[in-house]
């Protein structure tokens, strides 16, 4: 080893401390998930860890509860609509931002990204006041609009990153080879952006699917899945919640992993 490569004892100490810190942080983040999954497979009447015996009792209880199923479907289709709207609007916005120069562009960019940094409770409260004025509380359209705003930073950021790597000479090549601007967009630009847009759609879906605070403020009488879980938790702590949580964890894990793989693929392909 080259002498200057040796971090020395002090360096080794720091690197060990960082590794320990990282492991502790992972445990802290993952422990609740690791507990809820075995609990969901328990037989006991109450939430208990470790479970005394295993069964699918609470999964059956979830699938046979019409309230839970209805809330799940509501959340699912709202998330699908939000995902589609946010992806289309976000992709068009990213295209517009990448191809124009104007004063206040970075301000507009910041404005679109704002929902990522504004505390969600502030956003929810503001929406509540606004929707009250507009008599929109309790409307599905209102919740969809709010979720689209909340999800929009994902498609804008992901598609912008892909566009930054995009070689616009490809569009020139398309034109000189005989394609109109519209066909260049459909045959060259859009296929290039497809993985980034699909990743955006998945992330946007989950922004809406597991969103609780805004739903609590503005949905009124009907339930989304997170809202239903929340109200169940307040009334009684029943292991059905653990089963729902386990299902949610599984779906989210698969979805976000797929989204992240797509995003990385989009970036790697752009780098070629």
């Amino acid at each position: 080893m080259h002498p200057s490569d040796d971090p020395g004892w002090a360096g080794k100490g720091w690197s060990m401390a960082f590794t320990a810190y990282f492991i502790l942080l992972l445990i802290y983040l993952l422990l609740p998930l690791l507990i809820v999954i075995p609990v969901s497979f328990g037989e006991d009447q109450w939430l208990q860890f470790p479970p005394t015996s295993l069964s699918l009792r609470w999964y059956r209880s979830y699938f046979s509860d019409p309230g839970f199923i209805a809330a799940t479907f509501t959340s699912f289709w709202i998330a699908c609509v939000v995902s589609a709207l946010a992806t289309v609007i976000g992709t068009v916005t990213a295209l517009g931002l990448s191809r124009t120069r104007f004063r206040g562009k970075s301000l507009l960019y910041g404005f679109i990204i704002a929902p990522m940094v504004i505390p969600i409770i502030i956003f929810a409260l503001a929406l509540f006041i606004l929707f009250n004025q507009l008599k929109m509380t309790g409307s599905v359209a209102g919740l969809i609009l709010a979720h689209v705003v909340l999800a929009l930073p994902f498609p804008v950021l992901i598609v912008s990153a892909a566009l930054e790597q995009f070689d616009t000479t490809l569009e020139r090549a398309g034109r000189i080879l005989g394609a109109t601007p519209l066909r260049v967009f459909l045959h060259i630009t859009l296929p290039y952006l497809a993985p980034a847009a699909l990743a955006s759609a998945i992330f946007s879906f989950f922004v809406s699917f597991d969103e609780l605070v805004i739903a609590l403020f503005i949905t009124g009488r009907w339930d989304t899945l997170p809202k239903r879980i929340w109200s169940d938790l307040r009334l009684e702590i029943d292991p059905t919640i653990a089963a729902v949580a386990a299902i949610l964890i599984a779906i989210t894990l698969i979805g976000i992993t797929a989204g992240e793989l797509l995003r990385r693929w989009a970036m790697a392909r752009a780098a070629n």
């Binding site: 070689d167 020139r172 034109r175 005989g178």
Partner: protein, 364 residues
């Protein structure tokens, strides 16, 4: 064998074309008539306006003044997709989500050709560039040289009458570049279209072109065939930009057609040429010979003493840089067969050149 009857080139005429970006004029009063089927190279340093001229034929840029005609018809109002011009880009610009076949098929699909015709033409184009077996590969699965050949196939598959090439070999390494120059010569013999080639590489320009247009600062500096451009540079810019050259300053000697070469302190005479008064002469390194001890100089030749300052050994050729009495450096070349041995640094030599090999240059 040329199959010019299959595909014939179009003429391209620049008529006093100008282009400015804001206050910057990148092309000034550019007039040029390109013959049908000609291989013409726009040669110049970056910022000379050569790529701007090319992009205006493609339709990516509009002239701010003047007009461009293809086959005598103005193309000003035609968008790029309706100009029927092929183009090869420096970075290949293959569509990354399409395989080789689909890339080459793209211009035909845009022209709504039948599947049968597309298949025939793509196969023929891939055969021309020797990539018939690569149709199913993705662009990432082939080498740089192969990508550029696919780009050529894609640019000519729809039988354009003009093919534009924007530094197509710039991204390739030296060996591959030389190989691709031979390939391009072959393509041009097999397809008869007009080819307009942009490069800053004077070697490429000399090898490939029928005619070379030397450009600098948005203006045409000289137009001519490769030999003419090399042997008779019209001015100092051409003399310095194309090939290696020695530029020596001339001082008027009172009499018309007589000067003193400043660096050599020797008289130089030439029939006074019309046009601007020459301020310098250029002499190619290969035109300067070393006189062996006791060897008589040729009648009328200009001889001078120098000391070897630098030696570049190329195997077949040795390039020397020698210091003159006044400190200036002069380059000369010797072929290995003629040279008895490689000289040493600081060795004294006597060099000579024939006045007829020197070219008189005005500054502009």
């Amino acid at each position: 064998m040329r199959k010019a009857d299959i595909q014939t080139g179009a003429t391209v005429d620049f008529q006093a074309v100008g282009r400015s970006f804001g206050k910057l004029d990148v092309l000034k009063d550019f007039s040029l008539a390109i013959a049908a089927g000609e291989f013409l190279t726009l040669l110049g340093p970056s910022g000379s306006g050569k790529t701007t001229a090319l992009n205006m034929i493609a339709g990516f840029l509009q002239p701010t003044s003047g007009d461009i005609l293809i086959d005598g018809k103005s193309i000003a109002s035609l968008p790029p997709e309706r100009r029927n011009v092929g183009m090869v880009f420096q970075n290949y610009s293959l569509f990354p989500h399409m395989n080789v076949f689909d890339n080459v098929a793209f211009p035909l699909k845009m022209r709504r050709a039948s599947a049968q015709l597309i298949k025939e033409k793509v196969e023929k184009a891939l055969e021309l560039v020797h990539l018939a077996d690569y149709a199913a590969r993705m662009p990432t699965q082939i080498s740089g040289g192969q990508r550029q050949r696919v780009a050529f196939a894609r640019a000519i598959v729809f039988a354009p009458r003009v093919l534009l090439m924007d530094e197509p070999l710039g991204a390739l390494d030296l060996k591959l570049r030389e190989h691709m120059q031979l390939e391009i010569k072959r393509y041009r013999d097999e397809i008869g279209c007009t080819m307009i080639y942009v490069t800053h590489d004077q070697g490429e320009a000399l090898t490939l072109s029928d005619r070379i247009v030397v450009m600098n600062n948005g203006r045409i500096v000289q137009i001519g065939g490769p030999e003419e451009i090399y042997d008779r540079p019209a001015n100092r810019f051409s003399a310095e930009f194309i090939g290696e050259n020695n530029i020596l300053r001339l001082q008027p000697n009172g009499k018309a057609g007589h000067w003193v070469i400043e660096e050599l302190k020797q008289p130089f005479a030439s029939p006074a040429a019309a046009g601007p008064a020459p301020q310098a002469l250029s002499i190619r390194p290969e035109k300067i010979a070393r006189l062996k001890a006791g060897e008589a100089r040729g009648p009328g030749s200009i001889a001078f003493d120098a000391t070897i300052a630098e030696i570049l050994f190329f195997g077949d050729v040795i390039k020397y840089s020698a210091r003159l009495a006044d400190g200036a450096l002069i380059k000369f070349k010797e072929h290995r067969a003629a040279a008895t041995s490689v000289m040493r640094v600081d060795q004294s030599v006597t060099l000579a050149f024939a006045p007829g090999d020197a070219v008189l240059l005005a500054d502009e």
